[in-house]
């Protein structure tokens, strides 16, 4: 049910290390906000679209993934177009869509486990100060991926129970049992984790 957004492939972007991609994305974001010349921003948008498509993602899938964010970008650009000037609208549209496409390209070329490894590595310095334990973060991520389908199925059961009793399905009457039933499992799950010795102290 929970599949990652990464696309299998061997493009140059796929071969780049995760940290390098994140740093490049960050630098690109800063540079894009410093630029306001359309002669540079328009080619940047074309380049980022080409880069995104070079990851091997089809045009339809690429559109499907970015359409919501691009729609908000379009709204913001339209506000600039109407309230400021057409030029300003074009600048904002090019700048923000370039950034969105670059970010989508990084996501499309980075596998979940590779990204998680990088996060664990970045968290290790924090571990020394006692803020968070990197192993706990990976454990929590694993637990979420494991339990989403189960909680979704439980929601379906609660809705079915409502229908069987002839009750209207209301957010409140479904949410409360869903939350209580789910959180009540916490003790058993925690005991099972401790019994297996996953978190050595």
């Amino acid at each position: 049910m929970l599949n990652g957004l990464d696309i299998e492939g061997n493009s140059p972007l796929h071969r780049l290390p995760v940290r390098g991609k994140l740093i490049l994305l960050f630098v690109a974001a800063i540079v894009l906000f410093l630029l306001s010349d359309l002669r540079l921003l328009a080619p940047a948008l074309a380049l980022s679209a080409a880069l995104y498509l070079s990851t091997g993602i089809g045009v339809a899938e690429a559109m499907r993934r970015t359409r919501f964010v691009l729609f908000t970008v379009l709204l913001v650009a339209a506000a600039n177009y109407f309230f400021q000037s057409p030029h300003e609208g074009a600048v904002v549209f090019c700048r923000l869509s370039t950034l969105v496409l670059l970010a989508a390209a990084v996501t499309a070329t980075t596998g979940i486990s590779a990204f998680m490894d990088e996060i664990t590595r970045l968290l290790t310095p924090l571990e020394r100060f006692g803020f968070v334990r990197a192993a706990d973060v990976s454990l929590a991520v694993g637990l979420v991926i494991r339990f989403v389908p189960e909680i979704f199925a439980r929601y379906g059961e609660i809705v079915a129970a409502h229908k069987a009793r002839g009750l209207p399905v209301r957010p409140l009457t479904t949410l409360t049992p869903l939350i209580i039933l789910t959180l009540k499992d916490a003790d058993t799950i925690a005991m099972a984790i401790d019994a297996r010795g996953f978190r050595r102290h």
């Binding site: 990464d6 964010v69 400021q84 499309a108 980075t110 957010p171 959180l183």
Partner: protein
Amino acid sequence: MNTRDIVLIALFAAIIVVLGLLPPITLGFIPVPITAQSLGVMLAGCILGAKRGAAAVLLVLLLVAIGLPVLSGGRGGLAVFAGPTGGYLVGWVFGAFVCGLIAERLVREEQPELSQFLSFLAASVIGGIAVVYLFGMPWLAYMSGKAFLQTAAASLVFLPGDLIKAFVAMLAGRAVLAGYPLLPQRA
């Protein structure tokens, strides 16, 4: 944090993900469809308290960042943070924290029902709406360039929907407190 806290955080993050899978509701008098996901932010604070609530929301955002489509409408990946509405997502973490902080200080199990309701409502409105907007609107305004006033004002169309969510969070928060109290309470 003990193992139980970590499990509670993970389970609540999973609940927030499931809330995003439910179809959005359209109400006649509000121009935008309501998704239940930001309701999860208020609920995380009201039910788990400040620290664990914020951790649950942070965990969801981590899943988004590493490329899982866990936001409502199957959105995910770094592009969501790069878009104009990324600030609202960052605000979720602080919103859940403030919501939890207020709920921890105000709500008592032995209180009469009405003051519990009012405390949860205050927590949801201040943490789940005011704090989230405090992060979302400046980000949106900065991203919008020169038309920042208009876009910030336009984002207020979400306010009625969020007020309804705060009301639902109030009712659900109080119901969970009665059925399975988890909120750490302090003076």
